[in-house]
């Protein structure tokens, strides 16, 4: 009798182990140490993770997720070691700044261009984007135009130092993706930029 109960319990645990489709989510710091936020939502409720190493589980769609619990680094590594081992190197970023209403490269651009080139070569990358931005001085249409010219100037400078143009995705966002969000018509030098992302 006892053996039979144990056997049934064993089978029962096998079934749970094999067929549960639970979801575990862990929020961790990114390579720069920044911790974001993630909401885990089922049909019955939601748990928001806001701190490093916080985790929640959603065992079933009809049940609310568990409360947030903080996991140790070791536990996280044990759970995700194989996946974390194959993570690509995060993209690298280089920034070029501009005067108001202008798309000319400043003197310091040369050093940044050299660094970008070194990073492209070190990663053997043929996968980069050159993205032009503007601050919010002037109207949207004008800023789209100036951000396009800025992206073009940096792309040309990269081509001039030997970067293959086929590896570049050249884009411009006008004032829509500020580094520093501001009110309209604010002169913000940190937003007058081109960002080169090397992937």
């Amino acid at each position: 009798m006892i053996i039979r109960i144990l056997f049934l319990a064993f089978i029962g645990s096998l079934i749970t182990a094999c067929c549960s489709t639970g979801t575990t989510v862990v929020l961790i710091p990114d390579a720069g140490g920044k911790v974001g936020q993630v909401a885990v939502t089922t049909k019955a409720g939601s748990t928001v993770l806001t701190k490093a190493n916080e985790s929640a589980e959603a065992e079933q769609a009809e049940q609310a997720p568990t409360q947030a619990v903080q996991l140790s680094d070791k536990k996280i590594n044990d759970m995700f070691a194989e996946t974390l081992a194959k993570e690509p190197t995060p993209p690298e970023h280089f920034r070029f700044y501009f005067e108001t209403g202008n798309a000319d490269l400043l003197a310091e651009a040369n050093a940044e261009l050299a660094k970008a080139k070194a990073a492209i070569q070190a990663r053997k990358s043929c996968d980069l984007s050159v993205i032009g931005h503007a601050d919010r001085v002037g109207d949207n249409e004008m800023n789209r135009g100036i951000s396009m010219k800025r992206a073009g100037m940096v792309a040309k400078a990269l081509i001039d130092i030997g970067i293959t143009k086929e590896c570049m995705d050249i884009r411009y966002y006008g004032e829509n993706d500020p580094a520093i969000p501001t009110a309209d018509n604010v002169d913000e030098p940190r937003n007058r930029r081109v960002e080169v992302e090397i992937r």
Binding site: V26, I28, K34, G36, T41, T42, E82, I170, D177, R199
Partner: protein, 155 residues
């Protein structure tokens, strides 16, 4: 007069350069449609695209709608065109359901479905421009990411 002529020359040179740049811009952003590239690969990982299963490798292109599958030894790391980094561990299955990256028109979205396996994800420009636009769906839950790095396990 000479000065004016010089000015004219500089201006037309600038226009010429800009025209060349415009020619550069259009083909890359419109024609390819690729949304990411494979950066790390451990066999075996494949992608199912329009009904056909294709082996992945470092440098392989990823498109919207792709179903990415890894076997019990496989893993694959992808960097998307917004700079987001996604790694799918062994015995995984993930579908990139929706990838829209047009920040100039304020039009961005990144929705993936994790059917099984482990995922490490670091959000990129889409998450920065529009927090809440990066979502993962699993069999039991929806995950709304507001930057930057999460780990997901579906079993």
């Amino acid at each position: 007069m000479i000065l004016r002529y010089k000015n004219y020359l500089t201006q037309s040179a600038v226009h010429f350069v800009l025209f060349g740049i415009l020619l550069l811009i259009s083909p890359t952003s419109i024609a390819t449609g690729r949304i990411g590239l494979v950066k790390t690969y451990q066999p075996v990982a494949t992608v199912i695209r329009q009904g056909a299963e294709i082996n992945l490798q470092v440098g392989a292109e990823i498109f919207e709608g792709d179903t990415i599958i890894t076997n019990s030894d496989g893993a694959v790391g992808i960097i998307f065109s917004d700079g987001a980094v996604l790694t799918l561990g062994p015995s995984g299955k993930l579908i990139v359901e929706d990838f829209l990256f047009k920040p100039a028109e304020h039009n961005v979205s990144f929705i993936s479905r994790v059917v099984k396996g482990s995922v490490a994800f670091v959000s990129g420009a889409i998450g920065r421009i529009s927090p809440g636009s990066v979502q993962f769906k699993t069999p039991t839950a929806t995950l709304g990411l507001r930057g930057t790095k999460i780990l997901i396990e579906v079993d």
